[in-house]
């Protein structure tokens, strides 16, 4: 799309008016600098955002974050709210990796003191957190047990001793989405999930040990337990094969639903069904089950990370090694939420695909310790570069459906990244910069090279200047575990 079609609202905010294309039902609001827009002008991100405005029941505006890039059907970095109950839900607007998200754990171990032991820590994290293509999880559950996980999410882990009450309080929705229904999940999806609970998988998923490099909002950092110069751990993964299969199943079955309900869309990957239809209800119940699986999955990985920390540090550091949860947040999800628009309270399904919920201070969904500061937002950078901890704001509630960015955002295709970067060389460079690397595949490492991504600092500057998030802390990686 040519940038001349965009209306500039500020240096950090742009609009594609509803008049741009005849089938648009809403405008598009883009949070980006001109430079970031120029980076994505050649791909299909903005056209895909325009396509998203054709979803029946969509409420203006569809929002796109500065880490946007071309996806399939719906852009990565996109947020679309549809009116409940007659508006639609679209599996493709949530993505195949349902409840892909990030968990952050903080310690009181100072980086300088930990430095001699980081190699051991990286090796143990790699050993205890299974990763790679088709990797199997740390536990294998029978179908009955899996159904419990699908119903109660991370609460299952609490009963098994893999979680604390504080972990759940500091997880989006307490780690359990209500109204999940395992009977709407196919046997194939369950078969895949049964073997993969507690595993990281491959692709862009990772576990990263970071040092808290700089704090920008001391009161918030203190509430989260983040201390400058100390270690923290990020876990990035989702619902594994179970979520992929659920999305595959429903994208296929919704090909019939769009004909049944007379829905016309510019891209078949956007297929959808009204939320109050049998098809829409079935998908929502299955999607919530996948989300619960992902919460439990990250909880098990957190348990494994704690084991690695304990074995590496417990004999050397008294209590400092303990990993306390900062927050766990999804960035691929569809959620029923209430938002204020022009003096009215609207019940909507907020589809976030590569966008993070970012509720402001005072939101009833937040635990007591975060009521004054807003919801923690976890923004992982590309491998070897900084990551950020932000909080949601009043402006994010008003202007972006309580959402903000989710990462750096790709700028190079995987094929180009592989041509420009050699995995072995990248590992040597990262190690030379003090980042321990454990990776299952060198070509996979090359695909996720920092050069393949936008500058995460620029993404964060954009959302903070636009007011839809506030900086809390910047994290620097010291060890990366990748599938």
């Amino acid at each position: 799309m040519e940038l001349k079609h965009l209306r500039k609202i500020s240096d950090y905010e742009w609009e594609i008016p509803q008049s741009y294309r005849h089938d648009m039902r809403a405008s598009v609001r883009i949070f980006a600098t001109r430079r970031l827009l120029e980076q994505i002008a050649d791909d299909q991100s903005l056209e895909q955002a325009v396509n998203a405005t054709t979803l029946p029941g969509v409420v203006s505006p569809v929002v796109v974050m500065p880490d946007m890039h071309q996806g399939y059907g719906f852009p990565i970095g996109g947020v679309a709210a549809t009116a409940y109950p007659h508006g639609v839900i679209s599996p493709g607007a949530i993505g195949y990796d349902i409840n892909c998200g990030v968990r952050l754990l903080a310690s009181s171990i100072e980086y300088e003191a930990a430095l001699p032991y980081l190699d051991t820590l990286a090796t143990l994290l790699n050993a205890y957190c299974p990763s790679g293509v088709g990797s199997e999880g740390v536990v294998r559950v029978q179908v009955e047990e899996l159904n419990k996980i699908l119903r109660v999410g991370a609460r299952w882990a609490l009963k098994r001793g893999y979680a604390t009450e504080e972990d759940l309080e500091r997880t989006e929705e307490g780690g359990k989405l209500e109204d999940a229904d395992p009977s709407q999940v196919s046997e194939r999806a369950k078969q895949r999930g049964r073997e993969q609970i507690g595993s990281l998988g491959a692709g862009n998923h990772f576990i990263e040990v970071d040092v808290v490099e700089q704090i920008f909002y001391p009161e918030a950092a203190q509430a989260m337990g983040l201390q400058e110069g100390c270690l923290a751990v990020q876990i990035h993964c989702g619902s594994r094969g179970l979520g992929h299969q659920i999305c595959t199943d429903y994208v296929q079955s919704f090909q019939h639903a769009v004909h049944k309900y007379g829905i016309h869309l510019p891209d078949r990957e956007l297929v959808c069904a009204p939320m109050d239809s049998p098809e829409g209800k079935a998908y929502m119940a299955a999607m919530r089950a996948a989300a619960n699986f992902a919460f439990a999955n990250r909880q098990l990985l957190a348990h494994s990370a704690r084991r690695a920390f304990e074995e590496t540090f417990a004999s050397r550091f008294k209590k400092e090694w303990r990993l306390r949860q900062v927050y766990d947040i999804a960035h691929n999800m569809g959620k029923l939420e209430t938002h204020a628009r022009e003096g009215q309270r609207l019940r909507v399904c907020v589809h976030r695909k590569g966008a993070t919920r970012a509720f402001g201070p005072g939101s009833p969904e937040l635990p007591a310790e975060y009521q004054d500061i807003g919801q923690p937002v976890l923004v992982p950078g590309s491998m070897g570069t900084a990551s950020w901890v932000l909080v949601g704001t009043e402006a994010s509630m008003e202007r972006s459906w309580g959402s903000t960015c989710h990462g750096a955002g790709r700028v190079l295709s995987r094929a180009k990244a592989k041509k420009q970067v050699r995995g072995e060389r990248l590992r040597e460079e990262l190690e030379a910069h003090g980042v321990k690397v454990r990776a299952g595949s060198m070509s996979g490492l090359a695909e996720e090279a920092p050069q393949a991504y936008k500058d995460v600092d620029m993404v964060v500057e954009t959302v903070t200047h636009a007011g839809i998030a506030r900086k809390v802390a910047r994290l620097r990686p010291v060890a990366v575990i990748k599938g």
Binding site: D43, H69, Q70, G71, Y72, G73, I76, G92, G95, Y96, D97, V133, G134, R188, Q191, R192, G201, A202, G203, G241, H244, Q245, C247, T248, V251, Q252, Q255, H256, D267, R268, E269, V271, R410, V411, L412, S413, R414, A415, K416, S441, S443, G444, G483
Partner: protein
């Protein structure tokens, strides 16, 4: 008959061409194997029957490749040769029957999460059929 990887910022896209629909599906499967870096154990060959129905050709292509992803993950099998017949005159739309020929996977370097419908159109060309498939990775 052939395939080539084409540029896509986040995911993988494959352009596939063939004389007819059974060959297009077969070639797409070979292309998907190549993208994922699949290497087969040549010693022990395996067969699997396959039966699928779909309302249209694009849906059949997605269902076929999704079936192969499932077999790769659950049974560690990949296939490089295909005997497929497609009946276009059923009440369900298209019906695919056939046999997959392959072997256990010795090595796989990339995970493909799913096969998408994004901009998927099987088009007639002077030489047969052509389609571009986008994979979520």
């Amino acid at each position: 008959m052939g395939y080539e990887e084409i540029e896509h910022t986040a995911d993988w896209a494959l352009r596939v061409w063939a004389l007819n629909l059974p060959e297009l599906l077969s070639e797409a499967a070979r292309g998907m194997n190549a993208l994922a870096g699949v290497k087969l154990n040549t010693a022990n060959r395996a067969l699997r029957p396959i039966h699928l129905t779909a309302p249209d050709a694009e849906s059949l292509l997605v269902a076929f490749l999704s079936e192969l992803l499932y077999l790769a993950e659950q049974e560690n099998l990949a296939f490089d040769s295909f005997d497929l017949t497609i009946d276009a005159k059923t009440q369900d739309g298209l019906q695919l029957d056939g046999v997959l020929h392959g072997a256990s996977i010795a090595e796989i370097s990339k995970a493909i999460k799913a096969v998408t419908f994004h901009n998927l159109h099987i088009q007639k060309t002077p030489d047969g059929l052509e389609a571009t498939v986008v994979f979520d990775v």
